[in-house]
Amino acid sequence: MTNGFDDAKEIEVDYARLRVPFGPVHPALKEPISLKVTVRKEEILDVDIGLGHVHRGIEALAENRNLVQALYLVERICGICSHSHTTCFTQALEEIGEIKPSERALYLRSLIFELERMHSHLLLLGLMAYEIGFDTLFMFTWHVRENVLDLFEEITGNRVHHAMNTIGGVRWDLPPHLVGKMNDTLKNLEKSVKYICEVFQNKTVEKRLCEVGVLNHIEARELCVVGPTARGSGVNVDIRRDYPYAAYGELKDSFSVILRNSADAYARTEVRISELFESINVVHTILDELPNGSISMEESALKLMRKIPEGETVSIVEAPRGELLYFVKTNGKDGLWRLKVRTPTIANVLGLKPMLIGGEIADIPVTVASIDPCMSCANRVTVVDQGKGEKKVINWENLRRRGKKQ
């Protein structure tokens, strides 16, 4: 018998090793991701991450539509950061078409953007509480989040898919009577967030989150994680400051980039709580400094769309979960050659493996939640044939063939 055989046998009879399927359907997951976790008692030995359960072919769909239709389609990529997607897409189109939206339109874009960041972060804080079994905090946080959704409804008419952006501006103006109401809501919100912040310092919460899912600074840099996940590991990135878009160039003094060095789930939660205060600050500044003027171009979006020439560009924004990247290649005939979306989750999900290994089963839900995964945004590579039950991952060759065809 060779040595290698002995090792293999040893692993086989190691009865304490158990392969626990975590997902794709699991109460702790709001969207499907499959983690095949190998555990010994409570300790995690290995993790295998599988994506691709809710791939919806949005990129291919967008390539078959005109630009305005695609604009409303990309909004549906994510149910939480819908405004980030449209902003990123319109920015790319405006860059190709050399259209310059008015100052007021850019400020309004940033306004919705920051409100969206608040509602996304509040949603996640609630989920974090739910994952650690703290239902009261979960209920309270989502109760607070309702206030932000109400503001969305007042401004745009919709709670989730705001349809705010259009080529060359925004679709809804902020009526003056709403400014006072928004200031009141923000004041209440600030009070509630302070309270949430205090509750998160509860002893049992700290016990569950501190030193859980550690992603150290070097690993975070190597895996190129983005957004609050990166900032929780002390990586100083924020697209709003590094590559200002919309009105963030003028707003850069009203927010600061929150960094934490402890690199655990608690650090990522803390970053999000502090960013809530920063967002409230930004919204206050926007309400004070909102310039006058029209909110959109004189020409309709459809006319503008036909004027967009053939061209390609890359556009990035700081979505609530981190850097969101769009590669847009237009065909000059109101359509798209290629649309490529890289959502923050696809960057962050790679960080899950180093976070989980060495942890406990009890830590899986909080660790997964702490990167704020948004699975339907991230799924794109696996093709599942349900009839035959076979799975195939599109490899480099297929991708190249697909690229050459265009």
Binding site: A28, I132, G133, F140, K207, R208, I361, I364
Partner: protein
């Protein structure tokens, strides 16, 4: 004849009270979370609904154990809850029934655990190992605190301890420092025995999908849930009648019998809310290691102090 009738009535009474208390618990929990919450009789609706559902036994399960275990669990905890009630009403008891009650209550947890591991689901197995650890963590201090009580009252019969309180015209927990410590230990162990947050580690919903209960559905789930609520009721009723027997403060008829039982129910409900509902509202779930440490460092130490004090005659 009368005795048999009372014994027969006790079982439906336990069934009714434990589901009712569960309803109150859920309502109060919801109000503390700023929710409206389900109607108080919701657990009855749930029970009836689950009983009308299909019986599903997973292919991987060893079906005999899987189907028998919920019945044993429900029976064990209902009998465990019925014994103290019956002996209070009948004003009698068997020697050593205290051990029997605790055994029956532990048995219902163990049965659910076995059912989970017989389902063939890996989450059931994880739930088994977690519940096993928790049982070791809380059962030992709980038993030692009861041991301290019986050392103090020189009896292992439930009714003798109650009548000792009536004789002293005082609540046992306030008679001696050793008993106060024993009462504290017992109360600390109730949330773990009830699988309530922060100690619901063995059936953590977001971690291991209810652990042992993962494959149970329909009538089996109804029975498992009944076992759980009945043992919660029994545990709190036991705590009230052993340590805080309020009717002892009253004269004559109200101190024993049916009247005393009714007087005990209000403190039982209050104790249930304090030991199960409140922690489950204000805490987050602990990890198994943290919970184990809590019980072995604090509860076990308290229970040993209590025994030491009662052997010294304090």
């Amino acid at each position: 004849m009368n005795t048999i009738l009372i014994l027969l009535i006790t079982f439906p009474v336990v069934f009714f009270l434990s589901l009712l208390f569960e309803g109150v618990d859920r309502k109060v929990h919801a109000r503390m979370q700023k929710r409206i919450g389900p109607p108080i009789i919701q657990p009855f609706y749930d029970f009836i609904k689950l009983f009308n559902k299909e019986r599903i036994v997973p292919v991987t399960a060893s079906s005999r154990i899987f189907t028998a275990v919920p019945m044993i669990a429900a029976a064990a905890s209902i009998v465990g809850a019925a014994i103290p009630i019956a002996s209070l009403v009948l004003e009698t008891g068997i020697g050593g029934d205290l051990i029997l009650i605790l055994y029956l209550l532990a048995m219902s947890s163990v049965m659910v655990m076995i059912g989970g591991s017989s389902s063939g689901n890996p989450y059931g197995a994880v739930g088994f190992s977690r519940k096993m650890t928790m049982l070791i963590a809380y059962e030992v201090p709980m038993l030692i605190s009861i041991l301290s009580v019986s050392l103090n009252c020189v009896s292992l019969a439930y009714y003798n301890i109650v009548s000792a309180q009536i004789g002293m015209k005082s609540l046992l927990a306030f008679t001696r420092p050793s008993m106060a410590v024993a009462a504290a230990t017992f109360l600390l162990c109730i949330p773990a025995a009830a699988d309530a947050v922060p100690f619901d580690i063995s059936e953590a919903k977001t971690e291991i999908i209810h652990g042992s209960l993962v494959e149970y559905g329909g009538p089996y789930l109804a029975l498992v849930k009944l076992a759980k609520v009945a043992s919660n009721f029994a545990m709190t009723f036991l705590a009230v009648s052993l340590f805080f027997y309020f009717p002892a403060l009253l004269e004559g008829y109200a101190s024993v019998g049916l009247g005393a039982l009714c007087l005990c129910l209000v403190p039982t409900l209050i104790l249930l809310l304090l030991t199960i509902t409140v922690p489950r509202t204000i805490f987050a779930r602990l990890k198994i290691g943290q919970a184990f440490k809590f019980y072995w460092l604090i509860s076990l130490a308290l229970s040993i102090i209590s025994v030491a004090l009662s052997t010294l005659g304090l």
